[in-house]
Structures are given as structure tokens and as C-alpha cells.
């Protein structure tokens, strides 16, 4: 039998070939993607209030995201504090301000490096893993199976991960802050010979509770962004090992960009609010 003539529908299979078509397709895809992430985020928030995930689902996810990230975040925080002390010491000593080292190290850690590095470590360790896990579930039809069994996959898979990231990242940030402060202090006072009393006195004078709060406040946004971006990437993973790998990589890259972007926007917003309340103050986030 001769091959049948292609149907009108088959003509649609021809991919657009002109640069204008490709540009249009790219723009369309980007807009659709942004809309999709927005819809996914709203759906997640709705499900959080509609139905609480079961403890048997929440506990293992909280353990994987929180407890298992403690060591990595602690090690990163410690080394950042230590490196800051080493790098800043000589400049401060040349200006005769070595005793002020504590203020600069600790303010940097609690306001910026602690939250951003804790979030980055979480994005690398948990974001990629969540995207790979959900991506594998997508390509092996496990997400379809959940839906077929009458369970909303956003409720069952995304809300526990979102809650874990949102609620545990402030604790991980505080852990990174604490270890960074200790690491910096050990190097400055025990190795570089800065006077311990002066180091802590200047730290206490310069770093306020509000500074620590500013870092923790930002971390909530970082945690939410990591969870939403990573779960969205996993849910929309394309087929095969390559698709899942791409989803995992994109989860980290997009989360990292989101962390830096949010850090900038929240910093700007915080400063505006701070200066409107205390016009004479110089505190910057």
C-alpha cells in the first residue's frame, strides 16, 4: 500500500524555521514559563492552607532538608568566618584597627554571608536533589499515578518540601551565623593574636539584634524561592536521564540567581524602611 498523503494536522508537525518564528517561540515560551511558575506558587500556597500534610510525609522531608544539611552549613559558615578574618586582618592592622576586626567580620556574616551561603548550600544540596527526585517521578509517571489515585501532587509533594525549606532555613542561617562568628573569632584571637576582649567588645557594640533579624528575615524568602523553583523544575522535567539532569542543574542555577536577586531587592527594601524609621542611622543590610 502506498504511503498516505499527509493530513492537515501532520503539517503542524513542521517546526518553524525562520528566525522571527524562533524568536516568537522563545518569547512565548518565556512568558508561559513565568506564568507557570506564578500559578505553581499560588497553588502551593493554597494547598498549605487547605490541608496540612501528614506527619509521616513531613518528618522524613524535614529530616532530609534540615538535619542532613546541618553539617554542610556549619562547615561552610566556619570557613567563611575564618577566611574573612585572614583576609581582613592585614588591612585592618595596617590602619591600626585590628581590634575592630570582630565588628566587620560579624556584621558581614550575620547580615549577608550567613543567610546567602546557607541558602546557596541548601539550593545546591536540596534544590538539585528535589528537582531530580520530582523529575524522576514525573518521567516514571509517579506524579500521574498520584493524580490517578485522587491525590493532588502539589499537596502531596510540594507543600511538605516548601514548608521544610521555609521553616528550617532560618535555623540553618542561625547555625551558619554562629559557626562563622566562632570561626572568625578563633582565627582572629587565637592565630592572628587580636586581643580577645577588644574583639568581642567591638563586635557587641556594632552588631545589633536587628542585624541578626535582618539576615534571618531574608532567609525566609530564600527558602521559599529554593523550594518553589526546584519543585517547579522537577514537575516540568523532560523525559530521560538528560531531562532529569537538566532539571537538577536548572534548579540550582535558577535558585542561586533568585537568591542573589532577592538579596539585592530585600536589602534595598530593608534600607528604605530602616532609614524612614531612624533617619540618622547608617545601618545598611
Amino acid at each position: 500500500m502506498a504511503v498516505a498523503q499527509a493530513s492537515p494536522e501532520a503539517n503542524l508537525d513542521q517546526p518553524p524555521s525562520t528566525p522571527v518564528h524562533r524568536l516568537g517561540e522563545q518569547v512565548f515560551d518565556t512568558v508561559a514559563e513565568i506564568g507557570d511558575v506564578g500559578e505553581f506558587s499560588i497553588l502551593t500556597l493554597i494547598w498549605i492552607f487547605r490541608r496540612r500534610p501528614r506527619w509521616s510525609v513531613l518528618v522524613p522531608i524535614f529530616y532530609a532538608i534540615g538535619v542532613q544539611s546541618v553539617s554542610v552549613v556549619a562547615i561552610t559558615g566556619t570557613f567563611i568566618g575564618m577566611v574573612l578574618a585572614v583576609q581582613a586582618y592585614h588591612s585592618f592592622q595596617m590602619m591600626g584597627l585590628a581590634t575592630r576586626l570582630g565588628s566587620v567580620i560579624n556584621i558581614s556574616i550575620v547580615k549577608e554571608l550567613g543567610p546567602v551561603l546557607a541558602a546557596t548550600m541548601l539550593a545546591g544540596r536540596i534544590g538539585s536533589s528535589m528537582a531530580a527526585e520530582l523529575g524522576t517521578m514525573r518521567v516514571t509517571e509517579q506524579i500521574d499515578a498520584l493524580t490517578a489515585l485522587g491525590t493532588n501532587p502539589v499537596y502531596y509533594l510540594v507543600t511538605p518540601r516548601f514548608l521544610a525549606c521555609l521553616l528550617l532555613i532560618p535555623l540553618l542561617t542561625l547555625m551558619a551565623d554562629f559557626m562563622g562568628v566562632i570561626g572568625g573569632a578563633v582565627v582572629a584571637t587565637q592565630i592572628l593574636g587580636v586581643d580577645s576582649f577588644a574583639y568581642w567588645k567591638h563586635s557587641r557594640d556594632f552588631v545589633e539584634s536587628l542585624d541578626i533579624f535582618a539576615g534571618v528575615f531574608k532567609s525566609y524568602f530564600f527558602g521559599a524561592a529554593i523550594a518553589l523553583i526546584s519543585c517547579h523544575r522537577g514537575f516540568n522535567s523532560s523525559a530521560g536521564a538528560e531531562g532529569v539532569g537538566k532539571a537538577a542543574t536548572e534548579a540550582f542555577v535558577f535558585s542561586f540567581i533568585a537568591i542573589l536577586f532577592l538579596d539585592f531587592v530585600l536589602g534595598l527594601g530593608w534600607n528604605t524602611v530602616y532609614r524612614s524609621i531612624w533617619p540618622q542611622a547608617q545601618g545598611l543590610i
Partner: protein, 279 residues
């Protein structure tokens, strides 16, 4: 039949009605103008080449995908117009055996089978224990398997656990997506036998997507063959056979006979043509 998402009291003979169903993924059309009615209690085997849209049709029936045109009516309800709790209720009337079983990797076999019962609070934990044991026994799995994870099972065992999970909620309709693909001939026969037993013992309606003619011979009351859209002539219907399994081998359409007998036919000539063009 009412067009809206309504249910009337009488038991309908036509349980699933597919009307003018079209499905397109971006620029690729997969299904076009499908009209099909599945009666209560019958087992329909949907056959056709890979990529002709069989699995897509199965997913459209249960509302996992949304058609670009047309729709699916289940027991008088428009599947695509249902939302929230109504759609969940409808889905619980279906059991779905996925191609690779789609067991939840992170859960044990016991938890997989108990999943629907727990999520929908259908019964207490004691009752769930009994039900899970019964379902696993029905599909011929030993009790010691309950604490294992899906990764520790063979392909045939995974399929049977998938079947046990789908049957746990006592569905009215069972959807099977290539139930014997990737299994050895003996295990394929076991799965076919289980499908047959489910149909006979539980009086379920069945839709079986397959290209295994042994499955068709064993379980089908009716056979529907889909043809890839790209190979059809304009305005030609995509369903090229709809009839009893006994007649499928002697169907009037040569494309149906070729498929049933597994003859490559024109595909070999196309391959030769492609090679000639390339060289």
C-alpha cells in the same frame, strides 16, 4: 445524555463516551476526531503502533490530560468540566495500571497498596492491613514482600503490585497501559490472566492499551485500532478498526491485518527509500 457535568440516577449502558476528541502537544497533533463509546462491563483493547496516541487517550479518559478539542463523558459527566472534589471522586472510580507500574519509590510495597485507602480515609489501619494482604494475595504475591521497596522487585512483581494498588479502591473501570510490555512470555500470561480474573470477579469495565496480540486474544471483548495521524489521508478517521477480536485478523483494512500479523510491509520499503536517498 446530558452535556453538563451531571449524573442521573439510572445506570447507563454507555459508561465512557469519547466525542470528537483531539489532542495536540505544541505543534504535534496526536489524536484527531476520535469518537468511541465504551459500554459498561466490556473490555476494550486499544491497539496501534507506538506513538499513535493510545496512552494519551487513556490519560484523557481519566482527566490526566486536557483535550484541545472535544471531550470525554464518564457516566454522563463531562470529565473536563469537573473540578476539585468531583474530579477526585470520579478518579476514585478508576484504577490505572501504568506502563512501568509507577510505584512510589520512597514507599514500601505495603504503603504503595495502602496509599489510596489512607489518603482518602476510606478505612482504619486494621482494615487497611487486611485489605492490602488480600489484594497482594489476589495478584499472587507472597506476604514477605510487603516491607520491600519497589526497587527490590522484578518487573513482573512490580506490575502485580501496581495492579494490587489500582484494585485497592475497588474501581468500576480499570485502565491498563501496555500491561505486558517488558515482561517475559510466562509473566505476560500471568498478567493477562489477572486482567481476565479482575474482569470476571469484580465485573469491572476495562480499557487495555496494548500491542501484544496475545493480550488482545485473551482479554478483549472488542478491539479498537488507532492509526498514527501523520500517516492518514486528509479527513480519514483515525480509528481504522472497531470490532470483535475474532475478526481483527481478517479485517478489510490491510493496515489492520499487517499490524496484527506483525508485517513491516511498507515500512521496509520506506526504510530502503531513506537509505537510498541518504546514499
Amino acid at each position: 445524555m446530558s452535556d453538563g457535568a451531571t449524573v442521573d440516577g439510572a445506570r447507563r449502558k454507555d459508561l465512557i463516551e469519547i466525542r470528537d476528541l483531539c489532542m495536540r502537544f505544541r505543534t504535534q497533533s496526536v489524536l484527531h476526531g476520535i469518537n468511541l463509546t465504551i459500554h459498561r462491563g466490556e473490555t476494550v483493547c486499544i491497539i496501534g503502533e507506538s506513538g499513535c496516541g493510545k496512552t494519551v487517550m487513556l490519560k484523557l479518559i481519566i482527566g490526566l490530560l486536557h483535550p484541545t478539542q472535544g471531550g470525554v463523558w464518564f457516566d454522563g459527566m463531562d470529565v473536563n468540566r469537573l473540578g476539585g472534589k468531583q474530579l477526585v471522586k470520579l478518579r476514585l472510580r478508576f484504577g490505572f495500571l501504568f506502563q512501568m507500574a509507577a510505584l512510589f519509590d520512597s514507599l514500601t510495597i505495603y504503603d504503595n497498596v495502602a496509599f489510596g485507602l489512607r489518603e482518602h480515609h476510606i478505612c482504619g489501619e486494621d482494615e487497611i492491613r487486611t485489605l492490602v494482604a488480600d489484594r497482594l494475595q489476589e495478584v499472587g504475591l507472597p506476604p514477605g514482600l510487603e516491607r520491600k521497596k519497589p526497587a527490590e522487585l522484578s518487573g513482573g512483581q512490580r506490575k502485580r503490585v501496581g495492579l494490587a494498588r489500582a484494585l485497592a479502591l475497588n474501581p468500576e473501570v480499570m485502565l491498563y497501559d501496555e500491561p505486558t510490555t517488558g515482561l517475559d512470555p510466562i509473566m505476560s500470561d500471568v498478567i493477562n490472566e489477572l486482567i481476565l480474573q479482575t474482569q470476571q470477579n469484580k465485573k469491572t469495565t476495562g480499557v487495555v492499551v496494548t500491542h501484544d496480540m496475545k493480550t488482545v486474544t485473551k482479554v478483549a471483548d472488542r478491539v479498537v485500532m488507532l492509526y498514527p495521524l501523520a500517516r492518514l489521508a486528509p479527513n480519514e478517521p483515525q480509528i481504522i478498526y472497531d470490532g470483535p477480536p475474532e475478526d481483527v485478523e481478517n479485517a478489510a483494512d490491510p493496515r489492520v491485518r499487517q499490524f496484527v500479523r506483525g508485517e513491516a510491509g511498507e515500512r521496509l520499503r520506506e526504510l530502503a527509500q531513506l537509505r537510498a536517498n541518504a546514499s
